[in-house]
Amino acid sequence: ACGDNSGGDQAGSDKTPKIGVILPDSKSSARWEGADRKFLEEAFKAAGVQYDIQNAQGDKTQFQTIADQMITNGVTALMIVNLDSGTGKAVLDKAKSQGVATIDYDRLTLGGSAQYYVSFDNEAVGKLQGEGLSKCLTDKGVKNPVVAYLNGSPTDNNATLFKNGYDSVLKPKFDSKEYTKGPDQAVPDWDNAQAATIFEQMLTQTGGKIDGVLAANDGLGNAAISVLKKNKLNGKVPVTGQDATPQGLQNILAGDQCMTVYKAIKEEAKAAADLAIALAKGEKKETGQTVKDPEGGRDVDAVLLTPKAIYKENVKDVIADGFVTKDEVCTGAYAQLCTDAGIS
Amino acid sequence: MSATPLLELRGIDKSFGPVQVLRDVAFAAHPGEVTALVGDNGAGKSTLVKCISGIYPTDAGEFLFDGRPVTINSPRDAAALGIEVVYQDLALCDNLDIVQNMFLGREKRSGLVLDEPTMEQMAAETLAGLSVRTVKSLRQHVSSLSGGQRQTVAIAKAVLWNSKLVILDEPTAALGVAQTAQVLELVRRLADNGLAVVLISHNMNDVFAVSDRIAALYLGQMVAQVKTTDITHAQVVELITAGRSGALGLATDSGNGGNGHGAEPAGSTSGGVR
């Protein structure tokens, strides 16, 4: 599964460009293994560079081990999606001391030393979710709706960022008593089964009075929907999501889910791959944008892409983008819904 | 010999859940004497021993040691009083070797460190005195020992220490002819050195050979405790199997039906196997 063919190549002895990529996990989101890996591979293959893409499975010890191994294996540029800034920084510093160029992919390592930062803004994702939910609630015309939070894993820093994002939209509405804040719980390990139990208990606790669910991704959203379905409340209570998974899109088409956030990962991957290839070859590219690292206090050259909110109307955009295929979404009963939504 | 017994028990009761195993048991062991404790299988001998050594808590009753009342809540209390026991179920640590088992809980040390050479020497000497000839190495795990070898290790372990009372629960059950003779001799020697020795055995020859007194348990009750010279072989067997023999034993009014089904002295609802 990898284009790495290092053979007997001694560490650092020659400068054939070789790129190492460390993805964070495979469970918090389907994107890493399902999309990022695919698009990055495509880009590297097209450029004809050697590469090695690995996944740390959410384990930061693994993450560091993989980084060590990549450096041992002789990569010339290293692209990481950090699990937390601490380990991220340790890896970046180690790479730098060994003369390996680095890129922060998708997550900025605070206090780190990466040459580039390529990302979607995670807080922006959260913002879209918050805005999406209030749009759907407005559409439903609910007065003073009770909004429940189904946050991501408490140990996942991204979950915190998403939450910051949707809080920035919703908290003012809570404060102004326009909305009522309902139960607010985090789902360990983004575990869908636990999410179902947690949501069921939220429903019990409030006596069924939940009018909107801010679910941090499509998996959690689907868990909430399964409980709503059981109570025949699906479609009446808007639910958010993220990642534009086929399941999420189907739920949107069926009207059970109100929106999801689509991140054009292909573009992100392409941008990052281009920078990495350049770095690996010892070139420097201009990005034109910078991001301030609040901890390290430096301006990092950055490529920032914008996430996109997906409602029933624009599900077709995701498919048109090639992010998911029509076959994946428009199965069985969904074929008709697809047609209705203008997907061809 | 001495008038006050080294150990005296009074009114010991012990139940396991609904089953009463010991009923109002009185027992005494005198220094310098071998007291044989006899009784049928399941009479409660081992239970009594375990009560004395603090393995089981008793439900009622008093312990007097050297005339003073004591409470024994754990085997450590018993060891502190100078009571050493060879249990019927041996209780050796299979994962330790012979020397380690023999010194368990009282390891010899020089400073912080275990003094293995000393322990090994002492163990070898003690075992040699017990006619053990087939043990290949003192560093063998006890799990690989034969039944008799295990029993010898357990006996050797109990007599290594300076104790005042040694209780041996069927110590010769698995031993060969020569080893049995050695152990009986050892028992006699211990008593002659002024220790109180309690010997449990089903072998009447051994009992009469070494004991000074005989105590007989019958279905959890102490039916007699007499001088060995005052009783015959046949009388002891009768006490064991029927609970009474002539003037000795249970009072007649408790209606014992010969040596077949003894009446259940405990008031529980259960009887023998039918």
């Binding site: 495979s26 469970k27 890493w32 890996r37 089964a193 208990q201 | -």
Partner: protein, 419 residues
């Protein structure tokens, strides 16, 4: 409550014919002596429920009672299978992800390949059997410790789930029958019918047994005790069915929600089946024997290897059933199905119920009671709305609380030296 308990309670072959009074005395004696069967777990449950009811009155609603069953079902089912492995003193760390693999197979067969639900269920269970056979073979025949084998399984199955999920996307399960398992209820009358059948069956077994034994002159419990037991079961089932048949919809106009959740008869049937296997067949007897003393069992001519392999098969098959229920409940399968805390909760359920990790001691009922404890804790904690850090801590403390009620009520057992 079940035949298991009953057998434990019957001291047989004593000469005096026991009366009701002596029976009660005996029971009290046994409880004080430490032989207390299901009592500690039940006590723990009662304490937990009381505490939660006081803190959150919504805990004590019919709707929440019904939720409890579906929430705890998957863990309980996996725990039931684990009891078999634990009875031998082995462990199966892979049971959680094995359930994930089976669920993934189910989802692939029914959703991706489009076969009917029963084919998918068969495929899932067959996968479980294959997994169990492989694990059992490695443990029994190659001789690798089960901890290591199933740790390897834990890793490998996690990977297999990911691969079956195409590296991380969820697969929806939308088949009506499958979704019904964890989300629909029996018609109220059907609930009553099943309860009646259960009580009648129990009564028949008990009375037959009683007649059979007294005919042979063996000691039996007094008839009054037998009837008391039957009445007890009838009462418990009656109350449970009654509560579950109450309307629990939040909006009766939209939908009516009542009846016994479908998972309940599934769990009950499996409980009866496996209890029967463990208590009434020689296979079950041999499991206890191997767990109690492997060498003695071997000397008695029992094929120890076969027993060892078979328990892993049962465990993984039950994990498959658990996976199916989990998939049904989530309406989908994700790469985390069976992951996270599922395994520890399942082993914990068995152990809390009273199953020993050293083998030889445990019942399937233990898993159900322990599963109930775990489900109640999860359910109750869900109503509290703590932040996640606090929630973890409180969950741990509550678990400890339930376990110490258990430990204290078992106290006497160690004090008297009996096991």
């Amino acid at each position: 409550m079940t035949t298991t308990v009953v057998q434990k309670e019957g001291p047989a072959a004593v000469t005096a014919r026991p009366t009701l009074g002596s029976h009660v005395r005996n029971y009290v004696g046994r409880v004080r002596g430490g032989d207390i069967g299901a009592l500690p777990a039940v006590l723990g449950l009662v304490v937990l429920c009381t505490v939660f009811s006081i803190m959150r009155p919504s805990f004590l609603t019919a709707g929440n009672f019904a939720n409890l069953f579906t929430q705890g079902a998957a863990v309980t089912l996996i725990a039931m299978g684990l009891v078999f492995v634990l009875l031998l003193g082995e462990i199966d760390l892979s049971a959680g992800f094995a359930s994930g693999v089976c669920a993934a197979v189910l989802a692939n067969v029914v959703t991706v390949l489009g076969y009917p639900w029963y084919v998918a269920v068969l495929a899932a269970v067959a996968t479980g059997v294959v997994i169990g056979t492989a694990l059992g073979f490695l443990v029994a025949k190659i001789g690798i410790p089960s901890f290591v084998v199933t740790l390897a399984g834990f890793l490998a199955f996690q990977g297999i789930v990911l691969m079956l999920m195409k590296e991380g996307t969820n697969i929806s399960v939308r088949d009506d029958v499958l979704v019904a398992i964890a989300n629909r209820n029996l018609a109220p009358t059907l609930g009553w019918l099943l309860a009646t059948v259960a009580v009648a069956g129990y009564a028949a077994v008990q009375l037959l047994r009683h007649r059979n034994r007294s005919a042979r002159g063996l000691v039996t419990d007094p008839v009054t005790v037998v009837f008391a037991r039957i009445a007890g079961l009838a009462l418990i089932l009656g109350v449970a069915v009654f509560i579950l048949n109450l309307e629990r919809s939040r909006n009766v106009l939209v939908v009516s929600l009542k009846g016994v959740p479908i998972v309940v008869p599934i769990i009950a049937a499996l409980l009866v089946l496996w209890t029967f296997v463990l208590q009434r067949t020689s296979y079950g007897r041999h499991i206890y024997a191997v767990g109690g003393n492997k060498e003695a069992a071997r000397r008695a001519g029992i094929n120890v290897d076969r027993i060892r392999i078979s328990v892993f098969m049962i465990c993984s098959s039950m994990a498959a059933v658990g996976g199916i229920v989990a998939a049904s409940r989530a309406n989908s399968v994700d790469p985390n199905t069976g992951g996270s805390n599922v395994l520890l909760y399942a082993v914990g359920a068995a152990v809390i119920g009273g199953t020993s990790l050293f083998g030889g001691k445990g019942r399937v009922l233990d898993a159900v009671l322990g599963g109930a404890v775990v489900a109640v804790i999860d359910n109750g904690m869900g109503l509290m709305g703590y932040s996640s850090g606090v929630k973890y801590v409180v969950t741990g403390v509550v678990l400890l609380l339930a376990a110490s009620v258990d430990a204290f009520s078992r106290r006497r057992s160690t004090a008297t030296g009996s096991r």
